[in-house]
């Protein structure tokens, strides 16, 4: 006979021994770093999301997807750098990455490309070779896209422009009857008074902000968006005067035909289209072609963003003010205002339980607004064009609504019908 005892209920000592003997798994070490991720959502058929299988499915069971209503992770082979900012255009997405030689670019429709073969739709992030003198050292700092042109800012070699130049928005002389659709002409701009630190594209014009705080503009000017005192096109970047002469500007923003600039003392200046009451507080005219100071008594302004018909500013205390026309974010009753209205902080998660939530950044799309809090949450509101808000529903959103993203949102950029966000994972 054997000496084995029958198996009864295990005693506490046996359980404790079994527990101590189990192996311990390690999923993350002490030095585990947070990963950078990119999430996209919105209209897919323009290829702006960078996922080819949405338009042309690679596997039989997948169906083409017209709209991606919730954030979808974009997998890129190259690491998207920590300082990368994704800036969107009308129908294309351009993002900067680590390799300075090529700019991983995902172009959508109408963005007349600088690629060799001249694609009409580019469905995946593809690199663009820039004619750099020192390709190993120069880094791409920022990218901006307009309706049909884009600007690329590098740290030591000036600004590169490409795309449509029919109004001089690329900063070079307008050539009559030039075809832009398969052109891969990249023009380099170096003649500014100091190093350019920010480039902004409006619909058909370009703005450059230099380190000294001056602003240069070129391109279409029929609404006064070049701010040079006339309504003609300009094909050479020219310095702006008016109320911003001598003022140190720290941020410029534009999207459609309206432009805003923020000075280091917290004042905001505007020029361009005012058909939607953007500058109705200072003038009755619908076009302002010289920068004017907007005397709003809302506190020191930290950041401003222009949308197609509405504008949004962020003050030092973390309050958000909106004005203009459209869905401004204060319910369905407020559709237009010439004077900035504050959006209550309780809509961004502020409460007695969390008193230190502040809005850190504001961004604008064509008819949408986005706000990022210091906790890494993203709030969107505005017209939900083809699912661009990312809420999961197709209805317009009349007050700030949270977008559920699996990570801490670091930056977001809005296009016409899609959005791209840079996200850091939690752990």
């Amino acid at each position: 006979r054997g000496l084995a005892k029958p198996a009864g209920p295990r005693s506490v000592r046996q359980l404790r021994e079994a527990e101590e003997a189990t192996p311990v798994f390690q999923y993350a070490g002490k030095a585990a770093k947070r990963k950078d991720r990119v999430f996209v959502w919105g209209f897919c058929y323009s290829g702006a999301l960078g996922v080819p299988s949405f338009v042309k499915p690679d596997v039989g069971w997948k169906k083409p997807r017209r709209i991606q209503p919730t954030p979808y992770r974009l997998e890129t082979e190259e690491k998207v750098g920590p300082g990368a900012a994704a800036v969107l255009s009308r129908q294309g997405t351009v993002s900067t990455g680590d390799p300075p030689l090529s700019v991983p670019v995902n172009l959508g429709r109408f963005l007349l490309s600088a690629l060799k073969d001249g694609y009409e739709y580019v469905l995946e992030p593809s690199p663009i070779p820039l004619p750099l003198e020192k390709p190993q050292q120069t880094r791409v700092l920022q990218v901006s896209c307009g309706r049909a042109h884009s600007l690329i800012l590098t740290d030591s070699e000036g600004v590169f422009t490409m795309g449509n130049n029919s109004y001089g928005q690329c900063g070079r002389k307008v050539v009559e009857d030039e075809t832009y659709s398969e052109s891969h002409l990249i023009h380099q701009l170096k003649e500014f008074d100091s190093r350019v630190v920010q480039v902004v594209c409006g619909q058909d014009h370009s703005l450059f902000r230099t380190k000294k705080g001056t602003v240069y503009a070129c391109g279409w000017g029929a609404d006064g968006q070049t701010g040079l005192g006339h309504y003609n096109i300009t094909s050479v970047p020219t310095k702006l005067r008016g109320d911003i002469a001598g003022v140190n500007i720290i941020q410029v923003s534009s999207y459609g035909d309206c432009c805003l600039a923020v000075s280091d003392e917290g004042d905001v200046f505007g020029w361009g289209n005012s058909e939607y009451l953007q500058f109705a507080s200072v003038t009755e005219t619908t076009q302002v072609n010289v920068p004017r100071h907007l005397p709003f008594k809302i506190g020191k302004i930290k950041e401003a963003a222009c949308g197609g018909t509405g504008n949004i500013v962020l003050t030092e205390e973390g309050n958000v003010f909106v004005w203009g026309y459209g869905i401004l974010g204060k319910g369905p009753n407020l559709t237009e205002t010439a004077v900035p209205e504050m959006i209550p902080p309780s809509l961004f998660g502020w409460s007695d339980f969390n008193p230190d939530i502040r809005v850190a950044h504001v961004r604008c799309g064509l008819s949408q607004f986005a706000a990022l809090t210091n906790r890494g949450e993203l709030f969107v509101w505005g017209k939900n064009l083809r699912g661009c808000l990312g809420t999961g529903r197709m209805e317009d959103q009349y007050f700030p609504w949270r977008v559920t993203v699996p990570g801490e949102v670091v930056d977001v950029a809005c296009g016409v019908d899609h959005m791209v966000s840079m996200v850091k994972s939690f752990t």
Binding site: K30, K330, R375, F399, F426
Partner: protein
């Protein structure tokens, strides 16, 4: 001894039997109803209604007030029923967890639950009225809904133990244990729940609650008397 019997009570003591006659109402049957459930492994405030108070219990249920729990957890273990008395499934390391990472996860949980709060409240988001209520923070589901956490924060973190304070609606204690388990997973480790204690149920807090030693008639009467005003005011405010 016999004789000299006074009117009323008769008391005839014998060595084996004493019979006493008593006057007054008799407590034969007492209707006691329970408020929100509290399971066996949890502790804390448990609301009961006596007699006519049962009707108030239904009204309090329809007010949909939040409950506050103190939940204690332990990192490093994962069990099948999410508490420390269950069968061990896995052991993991937890030395990479910092307070900052935990706060980030809690902020996200709060954010998604706030969104669920707005969605289950059955108010049309396109109206001006919805906007006004959202600004004041008064939107809450007034009917059936899945469990929602309205606020969550970390009271202390001393690896491997931690303690959270959770304000929630329509929840069960097992759901709170599951949340602790999921926090562990999100932090790339694992966690079990060691303690669930309800410290507030609507208007009743731990200070109003009676301890085991105070389960006698006088204390119960005093407690009911003290809470009456609070309950009436809350019912008027919410149900109108």
């Amino acid at each position: 001894p016999r004789g000299g019997g006074a009117q009323g009570r008769h008391c005839r003591p014998t060595p084996t039997l004493v019979s006493v006659t008593v006057r007054g109402p008799r407590f034969r049957r007492l209707k006691i109803g329970a408020g929100h459930r509290l399971d066996v492994k949890a502790s804390g405030v448990f609301v009961l209604g006596i007699g006519h108070g049962n009707k108030l219990l239904t009204d309090l249920y329809n007010c949909h007030l939040t409950k506050v729990y103190t939940v204690g957890g332990l990192f490093g273990k994962a069990t099948d029923d999410f508490s420390d008395t269950g069968k061990l499934v896995e052991k993991t390391t937890f030395d990479h967890i910092t307070r900052e990472k935990l706060e980030r996860i809690l902020a996200v949980i709060q954010g998604t639950n706030h969104k669920a709060l707005l969605m289950h409240s059955n108010i049309d988001m396109k109206t001006q009225e919805a906007y006004e209520l959202a600004v004041k923070g008064l939107i809450r589901p007034m009917g059936k809904s899945p469990p929602i956490i309205t606020a969550i924060r970390c009271l202390q973190l001393a690896l491997p133990e931690f303690q959270l304070e959770i304000h929630c609606l329509h929840e069960t204690q097992q759901y709170l244990r599951k949340i602790v388990h999921e926090i562990g997973l999100e932090l790339k480790s694992s966690a079990v729940c060691t303690q669930v204690r309800r410290i507030r149920d609507g208007v009743f807090t731990v200070d109003d609650a009676l301890l085991r030693t105070q389960w006698n008639l006088q204390s119960i009467q005093n407690a009911i008397w003290d809470c009456q005003l609070k309950v009436k005011r809350e019912l008027e405010k919410t149900l109108g």
